[in-house]
């Protein structure tokens, strides 16, 4: 027998528990998953604080992302309290055991003078461009807005920086800074895919900017055409949310590490040699820093760069993309980074190996004593020698000045 709208509504009311806006407001934080089932255009006008958005037309497909536990309490709301009743019936059919609908919906909530949030609204062009991000619950429009407001700094627009910068630009990381003083050489093009044959001889920062803006004109590209040295590192890294280290000298890597730890900025680190690569994320004080991992640089003959030893072009490509992935997680605050873990990649065997990294309790940069010395405004003393970040590196590093016993 056909049913009218009134029949369906009566049925829904008899099956689904309704709660008032005041009851929802009185719930302790996290006591229930609150889901807004209105259309995106309504959600953008304002929503309950902490609510998830799953429009009614996608409720079957997307509810498990917002509410994975079928036995946990879920409260649905819409504009006036009808659509959420029908959506709640669907959840009950799907096995959700504690579903309620908020009577009167968002209109009643606002009418009662209760707090609401207005989300950052992306433009129509941005919604199209980032639509595949917006579909992922862990990113969504809030995450995309966060990326658009984020700043990532690349040390080097080379083999690692090229793919990472292109992908972060594509992902909509709003500000991309690039530190590089080099010019594009034809021998770079075997792996440095942000540059092009017709830009050989141009400044790398400018070449990178052209490729980034050709891919995504919204990105603000900040050019730092200078060599990162101890005298400018603090100025260069200031204000960035994450740094991607893709340089090819130890000196730069140590200077960057020391300053980034002091500034509290995470560094996504990668390095490559022929068929192999190493990758980790240094999150200051959460995990070890570069000096905890490698207290001193090796002698030059043990650590040739790509220009001497060579590198398979895809190796920095793969490692660079893993850097971009780490950077996105740092910026979005999702997932688990490689903080405290070193990932080794062997392209010949197609093999990944993970090693555990630890903070060095005697680290001259990130140990408690070093932090305290910085806070007090004086250099840390190790073995009677002043050491202060950023260090001036020698090829023997601290090993030349400080006895192994003091660092053991």
């Amino acid at each position: 027998m056909p049913k009218s709208y009134a029949d369906l509504l009566r049925e829904a009311r008899s099956q689904i528990r309704e709660v008032s806006p005041q009851e929802v407001d009185a719930l302790p934080a996290g006591a229930a998953t609150i889901v807004d089932v209105r259309e995106a255009s309504e959600w953008e006008q304002g929503h309950l604080p902490g609510a998830h958005h799953v429009s009614k037309s996608y409720i079957e497909q997307q509810i498990e992302g917002a509410a994975p536990d079928r036995d946990a309490p879920v409260i649905l709301y819409c504009a006036g309290g009808v659509r959420s009743l029908f959506a709640a019936q669907t959840l009950a059919e799907m096995g959700y055991s504690d579903v309620a609908s908020m009577s009167g919906g968002f209109q009643a909530w606002k009418g009662a003078g209760l707090d609401f949030e207005t989300p950052v609204v992306l433009t129509a062009e941005q919604k199209q461009r980032y639509s595949r991000h917006l579909l992922i619950p862990e990113v969504g429009s809030a995450g995309q807005a966060r990326l658009l407001g984020s700043k990532a700094l690349f040390i080097g627009a080379g083999g690692l920086g090229s793919p990472a910068a292109l992908y972060l630009a594509a992902a909509g990381v709003g500000t991309i800074g690039i530190v590089d003083f080099d010019i594009v050489d034809v021998s770079n093009l075997q792996r440095q895919i942000i540059h092009t044959t017709d830009r050989v001889g141009e400044r790398k920062v400018e070449s990178a900017r052209q490729s980034i803006n050709a891919l995504n004109p919204d990105i603000n590209v900040v050019l730092h055409e200078e060599m990162l040295v101890a005298a400018n590192v603090e100025r260069l890294i200031a204000g960035y949310d994450v740094i991607l280290d893709g340089t090819d000298t130890f000196e730069t890597r140590y200077i960057l590490n020391d300053a980034a730890v002091a500034a509290g900025i995470p560094v996504v680190h990668a390095s490559v040699f022929r068929f192999e690569g190493q990758l980790t994320t240094f999150v200051p004080y959460d995990g070890p820093c570069y000096r905890c991992l490698y207290p001193t640089p090796p002698p030059p003959e043990l650590a040739p760069g790509c220009s001497v030893a060579g590198v398979l072009g895809v190796v920095p490509g793969i490692l660079g993309l893993l850097q971009a992935n780490e950077a996105l997680k740092v910026l979005l605050g999702i997932g688990t980074t490689l903080s405290g873990r070193l990932l080794l990649f062997d392209a010949l065997e197609t093999e990944f190996t993970e090693l555990k990294l630890r903070r060095d309790p005697n680290c001259p940069v990130c140990s408690d004593a070093a932090v305290q010395a910085r806070a007090e405004g004086h250099p840390l003393q190790v073995d009677g020698v002043d050491v202060d970040a950023p260090f001036l590196m020698t090829m023997t590093g601290l090993a030349g000045k400080v006895s192994p016993d003091a660092r053991a």
């Binding site: 690692l160 920086g161 040699f273 190493q278 640089p297 090796p298 650590a303 590198v311 090693l355």
Partner: protein
């Protein structure tokens, strides 16, 4: 016999192989056996005093021996020992 993985940068010293099977019940014994077979590695892995160089990390089953017992870290027959020097290339 434990398996010692040789990083690419050191492979020229060991005839190009990726790993070696070596006897020894501690890191000191295993590294000693490695250097005995391939003396040119000696100055790259060890200081004049016989300690591990600070720029080479040694891992047993994924754990840094600096945080275990250093050169005295025990090594069991099936353990994986990995030498890991810093690399700078970008």
């Amino acid at each position: 016999m434990s398996t010692v993985f040789i990083p690419a940068v050191l492979r020229a010293n060991v005839g190009g192989v990726k790993s070696l099977e070596l006897e020894g019940d501690s890191i000191r014994a295993v590294v000693g056996a490695l250097v005995a077979q391939h003396p040119s590695l000696g100055s790259q892995l060890l200081t004049d005093d016989g300690d591990l160089n600070r720029f080479v990390n040694v891992y047993v089953n994924g754990q840094d021996v600096r945080y275990l017992e250093g050169l005295d870290t025990p090594v069991a027959p099936a353990d994986e020992v990995r030498l890991l020097p810093a690399m700078a290339g970008g």
